[in-house]
């Protein structure tokens, strides 16, 4: 039994965001972190593994070579195996092409009847929430997105799927893909022994050569060429007029109340 988790390294948009002159993001100037929702996905897999110790947790990412650091961290958290999908041919992929490549990589790892694939709901750089469902479609397996609770009974998964005004309880048989949200769990830390021994765990790099015989991987389904969407223009939104700070004391409160009243707002 395998739990395959797709993860992404993203620039930390919480900190300072660096924009280049041409309107694109300057990733080199920003700290790289593990996409937060993906950490929930990893935790979901590790939690299920805690009660199925024979299961293997395999983390997969597509990205440039420095993404290896993130995979090491996930191995130190408790993942059993890591795969870095990296190659020039994969560069410039949009969500469609990315999911095509990741689905190809997962096929290459091999999906068995009792496997579960986990993704984060969305990545904080693009916020698209597309790659998970598209991997599922390309692998021809069911998906359950926005998972806030997961229960596994043998080959059946019961998932609480969040809606705007409530939730659904959905059941699916393995193999299936689940996208995870923050409410699902609290990711664990690495462990000391995990850090000291991550390099003893299996680690592979899949490049184009490795994957080229996978049916999903074609020159016109991957990379820039295989991406149906293009960026037409990107730009920074105009700066809003700065708000005015009013002191957090009694006279400030009076001032605010007077102003709101003067404008007939209250």
């Amino acid at each position: 039994m395998k739990y395959i988790v797709c993860v992404k390294q993203v620039p930390d948009t919480q900190g300072k965001v660096a924009v280049k002159e041409d309107g694109t993001m300057d990733r080199s100037k920003m700290a790289a972190i593990i996409n937060p929702d993906d950490l929930n996905a990893v935790e979901a897999a590790l939690t299920l593994k805690d009660s199925n110790p024979d299961a293997k947790v395999v983390v997969v990412t597509m990205g440039p070579p420095p993404a290896a650091g993130m995979l090491h961290e996930l191995l130190a958290m408790g993942a059993d195996e890591a795969v870095l999908v990296s190659g020039r041919e994969f560069g410039g992929s949009d969500t469609f092409a990315t999911s095509q490549i990741l689905a190809g990589a997962i096929s290459h790892i091999g999906i068995e009847a009792d496997d579960v694939i986990f993704c984060g709901r969305q990545a904080i750089d693009g916020d698209t929430a597309q790659v998970g469902p598209q991997i599922a479609e390309k692998l021809g397996i069911p998906q359950i997105s926005y998972a806030a609770d997961i229960e596994q009974n043998g080959n059946t998964l019961k998932v609480k799927r969040v809606l705007e005004d409530g939730y659904m309880t959905i059941e699916a048989d393995t193999p299936c893909l689940i996208t995870c949200i923050k409410e699902l769990n609290k990711p664990r830390y690495m462990t000391v022994s995990g850090i000291l021994e991550f390099d003893k765990k299996p680690y592979s790099v899949f490049d184009y050569e490795t994957l080229k015989d996978e049916p999903l991987i074609e020159a016109d389904t991957i990379g820039l060429k295989g991406s149906p969407t293009n960026v037409y223009k990107s730009f920074s939104p105009p700066q809003k007029a700065p708000g005015r700070m009013i002191a957090a004391n009694e006279s400030g409160v009076k001032e605010l109340a007077q102003e709101l009243a003067a404008k007939h707002i209250i």
Binding site: T95, T128, F235, I266
Partner: protein, 304 residues
């Protein structure tokens, strides 16, 4: 013969109208209102796609917000949303009707459904768009107003009739306009509450053409089973309609509970308002995501 790269064989704007429990959501009406403008710019027709169980009666509303035509697909298997059934029906309809544009509301369901459909149809999908344009001139007006780009010093293809889908990225620090030049339909999920809803037009509602389509959907197509659908008794955070919003940010880090309580109290005093939150406050886990406002959260139009 369906060929997603044969651009000329596609025409018309289609809006997926999401109906839950016999009610079409407001986002669908926003999309229809916007779809009307896009269809007019293209000189083509606007259709609504309504699927579910016993939903035909809702078709008039779709017309009232601008659709020329409503495609209705009914099946007992479509009563509650499932990814598999809805993806199949939508993809089948697209195969048959070949719209050049397909819009879906970026609700939790739309964001589950959209990517799956786009993958099956082998086309691009823009997530969470906040602005749509066909006409380049109108797009340039939009850029003049909402960007720092020196529009007039650049060359533009004014004849281009491709859909220009603009969306926030990198947590709203950047806006990107996405196009899908080589495949059809051009698909986008659209952020709820951003586009303006048109006035309801009773005459159009009465005259809308309804076309029922058959589906060969069967139990075997459904790979997931919905065991229950639960409405949360928790207070629904209605930021979109709120008159008063008291927003909290990272500043409440010291004592989130107290900070939120204080904000609720203030909102209450100001006349039954709602608590909003910055992305930072949501990311830090102080408050749930349905409180989030701004580029990556909900677009709000409060009084205060």
């Amino acid at each position: 013969m369906y060929d997603c790269t044969d651009i000329k064989s596609f025409s018309g704007v289609m809006v997926f109208c999401e109906a839950r429990e016999g009610k079409i959501n407001t986002t669908s009406f926003e999309l229809l209102s916007e779809g009307r403008k896009l269809a007019d710019d293209l000189g083509t027709e606007l259709s609504g796609l309504l699927i579910g169980k016993d939903v035909k009666g809702l078709a008039g509303q779709i017309g009232g917000y601008g659709a020329d035509k409503v495609y209705v697909v009914e099946s007992p298997l479509l009563e509650t949303y499932t990814t598999d059934a809805y993806t199949k029906v939508i993809s089948d309809v697209v195969h048959e009707k070949k719209p050049e544009i397909l819009l879906i509301g970026a609700t939790n369901i739309g964001r589950d459904l959209g990517p799956r459909c786009a993958a099956r149809l082998h086309t691009g999908l823009t997530a969470d768009a906040t602005h749509l344009d066909i006409d380049t001139g109108k797009y340039l007006d939009f850029l003049r107003e909402s960007s720092t780009i020196d529009v007039d010093s650049m060359k533009w293809d004014m004849e281009d009739k491709g859909l220009k889908m603009t969306r926030p990225a990198f947590g709203g620090h950047l806006m990107a306009t996405i196009i899908c030049p080589r495949f059809r339909p051009q698909m986008s999920t659209v952020r709820p509450g951003v586009l303006k809803c048109a006035e309801f037009d009773q005459a159009k509602a009465d005259s809308v053409v309804i076309e029922e389509l058959k589906t060969d959907l069967s139990d075997a197509d459904l790979k997931t089973r919905v065991l229950e659908v639960v409405k949360e008794t928790k207070e629904i955070v209605d930021l979109l309609g709120a008159e008063v919003i008291v927003s909290v940010g990272q500043g409440i880090a010291k004592d989130p509970e107290k900070g939120i309580a204080l904000a609720s109290e203030l909102a209450e005093v100001l006349g039954g308002g709602v608590v909003g939150a910055s992305r930072a406050a949501v990311d830090a886990g102080f408050i749930s995501g349905d409180h989030q406002v701004g580029q990556t959260g909900k677009t709000v139009r409060p009084h205060i």
